[in-house]
C-alpha cells in the first residue's frame, strides 16, 4: 500500500507541477497516412538539426486530419494537417466556421498508385479501360445500357491479358489510396467509353455511380489499410494483383512488379514526368494563426521546402516521394514561405 501511495503521489506531483498551463511547445501534425512517412522524416530531421522539439505526427487519414485541423484555433488543435488530396470547399467552409480562416497550402510532391503482382508471374500491360472493366460493379453493355460485371478471367476482357482469374487486393473505402484509385484509374478508364463520357454532363449522379463503384462479388478483396500485408499476400498467391502506393513497390522491388498502365511503367521518373496515369498530388496545410504561438512552424516549413528535403535528390525522394518539377518547387517555396493564403 505504501508503494501505491508513493507512486501515485509522485505522479500527481509531476502532473500538478506542470499543470497550470497545458501550453504546447512542439508542433502537432495530423492527417493522411500516405503523407505520414514523409512528414515524419522531415519532423525527425527538424528535431535533430534544430533546438526545437520534434513535432508529433499523427496518422489519422486525410479526411480525419482536416476535420481535426478545422475544429478551431488554439494550442488544443493541430497546427498542420497532411492530405493525399486537395482540401475540399466544404472543408474550407468548416474551417472558416470555426475561425480557421488563414490557411497556407503546400503541395509537396506526387505519389503513384500501382497495380502490382508477384515476380513469379509475368508483368501485365493493361489499359485503364480494361482495368475499369475488370473492377467495376456494372460494366457498359452497348449504348446507354449496363450489365452486372460478368468477367471472371482477365483474358475475357481483352485476349492480350493473361488467362488467370481476376483477383485484386486493394484498400478499403476509408483509405485515401482507394479514393485516389477510383478517381484516377476507375474514372479514367470509365471515361474511355464515349457514351459514358457524354453522360457526365447529362446525368452526373448516374455517371458517378457507374464509374465509382467497385465490384463486390469477391473479385476485389478489401485487404485492409496495411500495404505490407498486401505485398505478403501477393508473394503467396502469384495470380493475385494488389493496389498500393509506389513507395511500397520500391521497397519490395525484389518480390513484386508494377503492371504497365496504358503502356507506361510505374517508374520513379515516369511518375515524376506525369506520364504514368495513376498518380496524385500530396499536400499539407498550415494554420497561420498558430505561427508565432507554437514555436518552430516557420523553421519547419523551411526545412520541408529545402532542396535537401523535397528536392530531386533530397531525402524525401529516398523515401519514395516523387518530387515536384523545378518550377513547381520554386514557386511553391515562395508561396509557402511567404505564407500566402489558400485560394480555391
Amino acid at each position: 500500500m505504501m508503494f501505491t501511495k508513493t507512486l501515485c503521489v509522485t505522479a500527481l506531483a509531476l502532473a500538478t507541477a506542470a499543470a497550470p498551463s497545458f501550453a504546447r511547445d512542439q508542433i502537432t501534425i495530423v492527417g493522411s497516412s500516405t503523407v505520414f512517412p514523409f512528414s515524419t522524416t522531415v519532423a525527425e530531421r527538424f528535431g535533430k538539426s534544430t533546438d526545437f522539439k520534434t513535432p508529433v505526427v499523427e496518422s489519422t487519414g486525410s479526411g480525419g486530419g482536416l476535420k481535426l485541423f478545422c475544429s478551431g484555433v488554439g494550442t488544443g488543435h493541430p497546427d498542420i494537417t497532411n492530405a493525399s488530396r486537395r482540401i475540399k470547399e466544404s472543408e474550407v467552409a468548416l474551417c472558416a466556421s470555426n475561425g480557421v480562416t488563414d490557411i497556407v497550402e503546400a503541395k509537396i510532391g506526387y505519389d503513384g498508385i500501382v497495380l502490382a503482382n508477384s515476380k513469379k508471374s509475368a508483368q501485365m500491360d493493361i489499359s485503364l479501360g480494361d482495368l475499369f472493366m475488370a473492377l467495376a460493379k456494372d460494366v457498359p453493355a452497348g449504348e446507354g445500357e449496363t450489365k452486372p460485371n460478368p468477367y471472371t478471367m482477365w483474358n475475357e476482357i481483352n485476349p492480350d491479358l493473361p488467362a488467370v482469374k481476376i483477383e485484386v487486393l486493394g484498400p478499403p473505402p476509408t483509405s485515401g489510396t482507394r479514393d485516389a484509385f477510383i478517381e484516377l484509374a476507375m474514372e479514367g478508364g470509365c471515361k474511355t467509353v464515349d457514351w459514358i463520357k457524354a453522360m457526365k454532363k447529362t446525368d452526373k449522379n448516374a455517371y458517378k455511380t457507374l464509374c465509382h463503384t467497385i465490384r463486390e462479388d469477391g473479385k476485389y478483396v478489401e485487404a485492409g489499410e496495411n500495404d505490407n500485408l498486401i505485398v505478403q499476400k501477393l508473394n503467396a498467391n502469384p495470380n493475385a494483383f494488389g493496389i498500393f502506393g509506389y513507395s511500397f513497390l520500391e521497397q519490395n522491388s525484389d518480390s513484386v512488379q508494377g503492371s504497365m498502365i496504358n503502356g507506361v511503367e510505374a517508374d520513379f521518373d515516369l511518375i515524376a514526368e506525369g506520364e504514368y496515369p495513376v498518380s496524385r498530388s500530396l499536400y499539407f496545410y498550415v494554420k497561420k494563426a498558430h505561427i508565432g504561438v507554437v514555436p518552430g512552424i516557420e523553421e519547419f516549413l523551411s526545412e520541408f521546402t529545402s532542396e535537401d528535403a523535397w528536392g530531386e535528390e533530397g531525402y524525401l525522394a529516398d523515401k519514395g516521394l516523387i518530387p515536384l518539377t523545378d518550377e513547381e518547387r520554386e514557386e511553391g517555396a515562395k508561396s509557402i514561405m511567404g505564407l500566402m493564403n489558400l485560394s480555391m
Binding site: A15, T54, N228
Partner: protein, 418 residues
C-alpha cells in the same frame, strides 16, 4: 437388483468415457501449446535480427578545409562524410552510383560525425577513423538476409553495392554489434536508428496513471458495494451496470475520453495523462468485479469473529477481510492492467497513435504506447521494420511477463492460508 457387484458393461463404458475425456483434455492443452510455440517461435526468429546492428569505419578528413577549428559547429558534417565516401570509392562517378554509396550509411551520418567531433575535439585538423551506423540495406547484407544467388533485379541490393560491402568487409571496416540504440532511442523513420524507448516510457507512464486511478477507486467501490451497501434495487442497478461496462468495446472509452478529457477539460492531446485516464475507465469494471469476487470468497467466519470480538465493521473489513482478499484483488488488477497495456483502439481517438521521437519524461508530454509502436512499424514501407516489429512484440511480452512476476511476488507476500 441382482447385478450390483459384478462388473457390468455400463461401468466399462463409464471408465472408457473417463479415459477418453482425459485424452481430449490433453489434446486441447497440446493444441494450445502448439499455437503458443509457433507464435513465439516465429516472433523470436523474425525479431532476433533487430537486436544486432552493423557499423562501418570510414576515414574522414577533418582538416581545416572541412572544419573551421574556431567554429566547429558550423561545419557541414554530412558533406564531410559524403566526401569521405567518394574518396573511399573513387570508381563511383555517376550521380546514380554516388547516391548508392551515400546509401551505404545511415541517414544519420552527419549527426554522427558531429557527435564524434564534439566528443573528440582533438581530432579536428587531421584525419580520423569514425564508426558510422550502416544503412538498413547494408545491415541486411551483412546479416546474410539478402540471397546473393538470386538474379540482380530480384534483390534489393545491386551487384555493385554488394561488391562495395564485400570490399569494406575485407578491409575489416565492418563490425556487427549489439543494437543498444534500440533500447535508448525513440522512434525514427530510419529502421537502423529506430528504438523502443519512447514507446516503453509512454506505456509505463500511461499504466502508472491508469493504476493510480483505477486501483484505489476500484477497491473502495468494491469494498463498499460488497461490505456496506444496502441490498436494494439501486445497488442491483449499479451491479448490472458495472458488469455491462466490463463488456463495452474499448473504442467507446476512447470516444468518451476525446469528448470529455480533451474537448471539455482541455487536457493535452497525445499525453499519457489522458491515455491513463481513458484506460482506467476501461479497467475499472474489471478490477471491481475481481475485487468483489475475492471479497466474497473470504469465509464469513472471519468477519463474524472480528465483529464478535468487538471490532467495528470498518475495522473488521480493513483489518481482516481486505488483507485476505488482497491476493485475488491483485490478480484482477494485473489482468486489467495487462488488458490496458495491449490496447490501441482507445488511444487512437486521443492522439497517442503518433510518430514520437522525443522520450517523454512527464505525463503531460506527448507519448505513444508499445502496441501502437508495433502497429506503426508493421505499417511502415521499409523492409527492415519487419524485424523491428517482432522485436517490439518481444519487448511488449517481456514487459507483460515482468508485470505478472511482480503480481505473483506481491501475492506470495500477502497470501494467507487457513
Amino acid at each position: 437388483m441382482t447385478d450390483l457387484i459384478s462388473p457390468s458393461s455400463q461401468l466399462k463404458g463409464r471408465k472408457s468415457a473417463e479415459t477418453r475425456f482425459q485424452w481430449y483434455g490433453r489434446g486441447a492443452i497440446f493444441v494450445s501449446l502448439l499455437f503458443l510455440v509457433v507464435m513465439v517461435g516465429s516472433i523470436l526468429t523474425k525479431g532476433v535480427g533487430a537486436f544486432g546492428t552493423t557499423n562501418v569505419a570510414i576515414e574522414v578528413d577533418l582538416g581545416p578545409d572541412a572544419i573551421d577549428p574556431a567554429n566547429p559547429a558550423d561545419a557541414r558534417f554530412e558533406k564531410i562524410v559524403k566526401d569521405a565516401l567518394k574518396t573511399q570509392f573513387p570508381e563511383a562517378k555517376k550521380r546514380k552510383d554516388r547516391r548508392m554509396i551515400y546509401g551505404l550509411l545511415s541517414n544519420d551520418m552527419g549527426f554522427e560525425l558531429e557527435r564524434f567531433v564534439e566528443a573528440n575535439p582533438e581530432a579536428i585538423g587531421g584525419t580520423a577513423t569514425v564508426w558510422f551506423r550502416a544503412s538498413d540495406d547494408f545491415d541486411a547484407v551483412a546479416k546474410g538476409a539478402v540471397d546473393r544467388s538470386l538474379p540482380e533485379d530480384e534483390r534489393r541490393m545491386s551487384d555493385k553495392e554488394i561488391a562495395w560491402i564485400d570490399q569494406l568487409t575485407e578491409q575489416g571496416a565492418v563490425e556487427r554489434t549489439f543494437n543498444w540504440s534500440f533500447f535508448t532511442n525513440g522512434d525514427s523513420r530510419e529502421p537502423e536508428l529506430a528504438g523502443i524507448l519512447s514507446a516503453l516510457m509512454g506505456s509505463a507512464l500511461t499504466l502508472l496513471v491508469c493504476f493510480c486511478i483505477s486501483f484505489p477507486v476500484a477497491i473502495l467501490a468494491a469494498i463498499y458495494l460488497e461490505e456496506f451497501a444496502p441490498k436494494n434495487r439501486f445497488s442491483d442497478l449499479i451491479e448490472v451496470n458495472i458488469n455491462n461496462l466490463a463488456a463495452v468495446p474499448s473504442i467507446v472509452f476512447g470516444l468518451l475520453g476525446l469528448s470529455m478529457f480533451l474537448n471539455t477539460f482541455g487536457m493535452p492531446r497525445s499525453s499519457p495523462l489522458v491515455g491513463g485516464l481513458v484506460l482506467s475507465l476501461m479497467t475499472l469494471p474489471t478490477i471491481i468485479i475481481a475485487a468483489r469476487a475475492s471479497l466474497r470468497a473470504v469465509p464469513p467466519s472471519i468477519r463474524e469473529a472480528a465483529l464478535g470480538m468487538g471490532a467495528s465493521p470498518v475495522q473488521a473489513t480493513f483489518h481482516h477481510v481486505a488483507p485476505l482478499a488482497l491476493p485475488g484483488i491483485l490478480t484482477g488488477t494485473i489482468v486489467g492492467m495487462a488488458q490496458a497495456l495491449g490496447e490501441t483502439a482507445p488511444l487512437l481517438m486521443i492522439g497517442m497513435v503518433a510518430f514520437i521521437v522525443d522520450v517523454p519524461d512527464s505525463i503531460l508530454e506527448p507519448a505513444t504506447a508499445l502496441p501502437v509502436q508495433i502497429f506503426l512499424w508493421a505499417d511502415a514501407p521499409e523492409r527492415a521494420f519487419v524485424e523491428k516489429t517482432s522485436a517490439a512484440i518481444i519487448v511488449l511480452l517481456l514487459f507483460l511477463v515482468t508485470m505478472n512476476i511482480i503480481a505473483i511476488l506481491l501475492r506470495r507476500k500477502f497470501e494467507k492460508r487457513f
